[in-house]
Symmetry: C2
Subunit: 123 residues, 2 copies
């Protein structure tokens, strides 16, 4: 089970590591497309585009349905939600960076004039 999930992540990250494949996903996010429609915006052969689509399919990011002579491709975002789950653990690290930055900015900011009747902000 864990092995399977690891392999799934491998496939998803590999599929996302190419700008053509990311552009295809973006295109599918607007509407389902035939293989020809998906390939059209790129300067590459249909065979090359088809190879990219296969990588996306292996990652489960694209579902293909055969309708007569047309292959219709659809986006499946589920593997992306697994990437998000994987990322979540690391979120603390960039949040910490932001906290440090915020603290530095606060140190640089001029001290607000003290008002004896109001409670001051603790620093």
């Amino acid at each position: 089970m864990v092995e399977q999930r690891l392999a799934q992540l491998d496939n998803t990250f590999h599929a996302l590591s190419d700008p053509t494949r990311r552009a295809m996903l973006r295109n599918l996010s607007v509407h389902e497309r035939s293989v020809g429609e998906l390939a059209a915006p790129f300067r590459m052969s249909l065979a090359a585009a088809s190879k990219h689509i296969k990588v996306l399919e292996r990652a489960g990011l694209v579902r293909r349905e055969v309708k007569g002579r047309t292959h219709v491709c659809r986006l499946d975002a589920k593997p992306l939600s697994e990437v998000k789950d994987w990322l979540q653990y690391y979120e603390r690290f960039w949040s910490e960076r932001l906290d440090v930055l915020e603290a530095l900015l606060r140190e640089d900011a001029p001290t607000p004039p003290s008002s004896p009747r109001k409670k001051g902000r603790s620093r």
Copy 2:
């Protein structure tokens, strides 16, 4: 600028597409490590481990500092925050799936008995 960001994403996704490299990042999230310490948990040569570390460095996920004869590696999570930004656009797609699931579950749930004196939940 856009080209650079695309290449950055390519490198980051490529670096994350391997379970050894993801395990190394996890290890670095606990503490900084020497190259030898990073390589130790894996059944591979130091040269092979070093190759993986170089891929992580190219993606900006690992920073290496030379301290005398030791190379100390540290995690830099910034490229991961860029992955999260990229993912955000697709979040609606798995949220929609959850909404559909929730709606289906709600349809299956028994209707709560109506109470004339209390305001009912609008459905």
